[in-house]
Symmetry: C2
Subunit: 416 residues, 2 copies
């Protein structure tokens, strides 16, 4: 029943190198990398120069190759490769979350039209088999939320922050350890987490959401004073990708959150990733594993290749019958807004204020804000402001009475 | 591609009732319970009496039924039902770990001969999809260990113990909350954990091990003084089912362990289950979910039924090519042995002693013991003795030099 897999590999970085070693050494898999295409002929690699080709058609137009594994960094080039591979009737395994999130609908349709598989477990949660589990296992249980730490780089930096290390220093260390990707902006501003969230939303709730419609705010602006606040309240700061049912609709975004010590994420440190799936019958399920690095990624790619031996395809069963479910932004959440400048805090309108703190060097305010108001702002570009979600359930827009007041309050300077 | 499933259900306890409600209400599944067979005609149930049948042949000999879901407590009766159902060409879903562990080889062979599926995700780890993940996902990664808290009852009791509640009181509360099964001995003496371990070993390492060959020691004998020791050292006590590679072979057993605060299990409390899978590429993966109760079990049964729609079968791929791998007992581990009586402690021969503590009311000794020596004893039947594994890696029998001394030391009474 196993299909013999002849693999064409694009890219030969750490993941590709690891994959090559495993496929050559292991006899478990009826799979072999027969061609490798890379971009730069001058780069030193772990195999002799004659092992490499430089023309993508060497793989894409080779009928003996039935699987394309795409592991290159350039997501636009990757898009062209993946699309053509699918059109040429080849199964595709990719770890490129940006490419997949931005072209999800087209790629799924193309794979279906050509009756091939398009698998991307390595694109979300590193070694955690979250896509497969959402796809297979929670198929008939009523899912209420998916929430996770899905970016190892920012989790590593935040772990350092929680121990008092400055942001720049922590970022440099993450890059040195190989946790940080080529462009740190994608990580630290929450874009990478957003692309992954888009994939989670598809497999958890069956919705295709455009990355541009999902709010992402990262960790670049978090100040030592915010960490101090967290410490005083017994919180830690974690960057969450989260999506959940609110009424009949789905809400979701990427933002830093304060978490209490009894929260699953409190202990998930360094490059580890964690995803919690909440469902009616199975209740909360937590998956934890290494999210960054070549081995966890190679492990996930390998699992996809293995599944191809058995003609595995994602079925996207949750996309059936949810035509009336929308992705929406009209709800309230409880947040902390901190800044050295009171006018910066006033950028964010509050619907209820719970706490106000002012001092000569730092100020903060906590309370309820309307997500639609926040979403209009490009918070990543407001370096003076820290916006961190507090651990309270969302309030749907049609229940504003839960907030006791609809009056927008602004902070005014105290006499110091 | 979906098969229409007509289900014959055996047993109508909390899990069966929940399952019936879901299958009747949900339109996601092309599955319907068409007959229910129960044992006791006089028992009050959530459906009118005419919904029930009392003769197992009503299901087993009905050709219109293609799936048998077995949810009864009597594992011998369940064995007869499952075996005949498989022989009659029906797929079987069961949550009965004792039945499955004791007849694993025969049941797998019978399912294969009759070209039907035999699925049992609900038998291990409640709602955690651990069997499916071992089966599907870690297929090509070199697995080094599987370790978990797979019994919610004992984890609930131990959580209470760690908070100072006496054993009997905690057990009574667990039963009241429905976490404890009909015969608590199966739980508290580690039998339930052992049956589950047998299934984990099969799916993780491809080995069929007889339950009688696996050592199980539970939590019945743990004393407040042992909990006090744990507290002083920063440990908590957890009951582990564990199996791991040691050289080319597999070792495994069920016993209470001390865990440090940085161990995955430290925070896994109450009825929660947790399993860690360690593998070469994916490193450590942790799965946490609710292990006891009707909903988590129903959720897992439902996932198996759902998989049957797509003709899913376990492939037991790890059983191929491991003919030279043995389950063996010849290794050293580090342990704590406590008792009111010094002669009780001396029941266990030590190969190296690290700590000795004596007082008027309690004594303990820590150090290295040979697992073969421990396995000979029925520790569950030695109420004066506490045996708890300390957090150190095993030492293979062919490396005794790591223990520095092979001399067996016994505790002698100090002058008090």
């Amino acid at each position: 029943m196993r299909s013999r897999l002849n693999i064409g590999l694009f890219g030969f970085g750490v993941v590709g190198t690891g994959l090559y070693e495993v496929l050559n050494k292991s006899k478990l898999l009826e799979a072999r990398i027969t061609k490798i295409v890379v971009k730069d002929p001058t780069k030193k690699r772990g195999l002799p120069a004659e092992a490499f080709l430089y023309d993508k058609d060497a793989i894409l137009k080779d009928d003996s190759i039935n699987v394309v594994v795409e592991l290159i960094n350039d997501s636009e080039a990757a898009y062209a490769i993946v699309l053509e591979a699918l059109k040429n009737g080849k199964h595709v395994v990719s770890a490129n979350k940006k490419l997949i999130a931005e072209h999800l609908e087209e790629l799924i349709a193309t794979a279906k039209e050509n009756n091939v598989s398009f698998l991307y477990e390595a694109a979300v949660g590193g070694s955690i088999p979250i896509i497969r589990n959402l796809e297979e296992y929670y198929n008939n249980d009523s899912l209420s939320s998916v929430q996770g730490i899905v970016n190892g780089t920012t989790n590593y930096i935040l772990t350092q922050s929680n121990h008092g290390v400055a942001y720049e220093e922590a970022l440099a260390k993450a890059q040195e350890l190989g946790f940080a990707e080529i462009d740190p902006t994608l990580d630290v501003d929450g874009f990478d987490s957003k692309y992954k969230l888009v994939l989670l939303i598809k497999h958890a709730f069956g919705l295709v959401v455009e990355p541009k419609d999902v709010f992402n705010y990262g960790i670049r602006n978090i100040k030592p004073q915010d960490v101090k606040y967290a410490g005083e309240k017994g919180y830690r700061i974690k960057l969450f990708s989260r999506a959940e049912k609110l009424g009949n609709d789905i809400v979701g975004f990427v933002a830093p959150h304060f978490v209490k010590s009894d929260h699953f994420a409190y202990q998930v440190d360094n490059e580890f990733n964690a995803v919690v799936v909440e469902a009616l019958f199975s209740d909360k399920q937590l998956f934890i594993g290494k999210g960054a690095g070549s081995y966890p990624t190679a492990s996930a790619v390998l699992s996809d290749i293995s599944a191809l031996q058995f003609d595995y395809q994602y079925e996207y069963r949750k996309s059936i019958g949810n035509e009336n479910v929308n992705f929406q932004d009209d709800f309230y959440l409880k947040a902390y807004v901190g800044s050295q400048f009171i006018e910066a805090i006033n950028t964010i309108p509050f619907y209820r204020v719970d706490e106000v703190y002012q001092s000569e060097t730092y100020n903060y305010q906590t309370g309820w804000v309307r997500f639609e108001d926040v979403k209009e702002l490009d918070l990543n570009q407001l370096p003076d402001l820290s916006f961190i979600v507090l651990p309270d359930a969302f309030v749907a827009a049609n229940q504003p009475e839960k907030l006791k007041s609809e009056r927008i309050q602004y902070l005014t300077e105290f006499e110091l």
